[in-house]
């Protein structure tokens, strides 16, 4: 059975943690494992839209506060930043982890069959994790995010039996193929402190968590096979109450197949049209 891995447990990730932990606890999933990953720490200013009772590393604080409520579920904190390469600076190596296998890292974060929720604050980290997914045969990644106060989005990238079921977002999302930002895990403390958070609302964080939570509920906890309910990408705007969904998969299963090779090389079996 899968592990549930939330990367980024600030705003959206925090609300998703609460909903997912409760759902896992009271489901038939066995074993019940929820991994919370974040290298960042809570600051007093975060209280406007993130709920926490103590300062400190977000993954550690979140796990400690949520675990007592859900005793059947193993909630594991991982206090590292997720990056694409381990830095050569030995002092930094314990603070970061790669999402998938690399030629230089001894361990990596993700495992086969993981359900991964990318709730980070930048496109570069999202791109790094999606790129790492190529090295797994079975993986589900949910890319979630919000900006401009009321806008939010969810994208479901699924790999099954070594093939892309939904479109690899790196193949058509320019913000992932060419990220306009840097991964905070690859920055110094001073550089991270200088990052502007922008305007976010707690309600939009909650809404993003609700949309992705409802999708996962229909995919795994209460399976819903009806075609009418199938979507791979969603965008919403709370300002005008609009929401639209899209299917992001090829009509012909043979198109866009990828095969696994050794770490560091991914070959495309059938070029996508």
């Amino acid at each position: 059975m899968p592990r549930f891995v939330i990367i980024g447990v600030g705003g959206t990730g925090g609300w998703l943690t609460m909903g997912l932990a409760a759902t896992i606890e009271h489901s038939d999933i066995d074993p019940k494992v929820l991994v919370l990953v974040d290298g960042d720490s809570f600051e007093p200013k975060n209280q406007e839209r993130q709920h926490f009772m103590n300062l400190g590393n977000k993954a550690a604080v979140r796990a400690a506060e949520v675990q007592p409520m859900y005793p059947k579920t193993v909630i594991l904190p991982d206090e590292r930043w997720v990056v694409d390469e381990i830095p050569k600076d030995k002092e930094e190596t314990t603070k970061v982890v790669t999402a998938g296998p690399t030629k230089t890292s001894k361990e990596h974060l993700l495992q086969e069959d993981d359900w991964v929720f990318l709730c980070v604050d930048n496109f570069k980290c999202r791109a790094d994790v999606v790129a790492a997914a190529q090295h797994f045969k079975n993986l589900n990644i949910f890319l979630v995010g919000n900006d401009e106060e009321y806008f939010g989005s969810v994208y479901h990238y699924e790999r099954r039996d070594g093939k892309d079921i939904t479109w690899d977002p790196l193949s058509f999302k320019d913000e992932l193929a060419n990220p306009p930002d840097r991964n905070p895990g690859a920055m110094s403390c001073q550089e991270r402190a200088a990052i502007e958070g922008g305007t976010q609302f707690i309600w939009t964080n909650m809404a993003v968590a609700a949309w992705v939570g409802s999708l996962v509920n229909r995919l795994i906890f209460r399976p819903d096979k009806s075609e009418a309910a199938q979507w791979d990408e969603l965008m919403f705007d709370l300002r005008d109450g609009s929401a639209s969904t899209s299917v992001r998969r090829d009509e012909t299963p043979e198109e866009g197949e990828k095969v696994l090779t050794d770490v560091g090389a991914v070959e495309e079996a059938v070029p996508a049209s």
Binding site: F123, V144, N146, S153, F172, G197
Partner: protein
């Protein structure tokens, strides 16, 4: 909806989409993405930075829409978490 003077509409139709809004019309055929974007931007509230896609391929504003095309305008994913 007026496109102004320019290339006459060709046989067949094309579909233009943004979010939950879409329209299929022969008038789109032979028009550029820029022209169609301009004609729909206000009514559909298409962001200025929304990209135009034909399937999973990005097309530029100078792409001339063909019969049978589905052109989707899509904004980038949410950045913050």
């Amino acid at each position: 909806m007026a496109f102004g003077s320019g290339t006459p509409a060709q046989a067949g139709k094309a579909t233009v989409k943004y979010g939950s809004q879409n329209d299929t019309d022969g008038l789109f055929v032979g028009r550029t993405v820029a022209e169609v974007r301009g004609s729909r931007a206000a009514a559909w509230n298409i962001p200025t930075d929304a990209r135009a896609y034909r399937g999973r391929d990005t097309v530029g504003d100078d792409y001339v829409i063909k019969a049978g095309d589905t052109i989707e305008f899509a904004r980038r994913m949410g950045e913050k978490g």
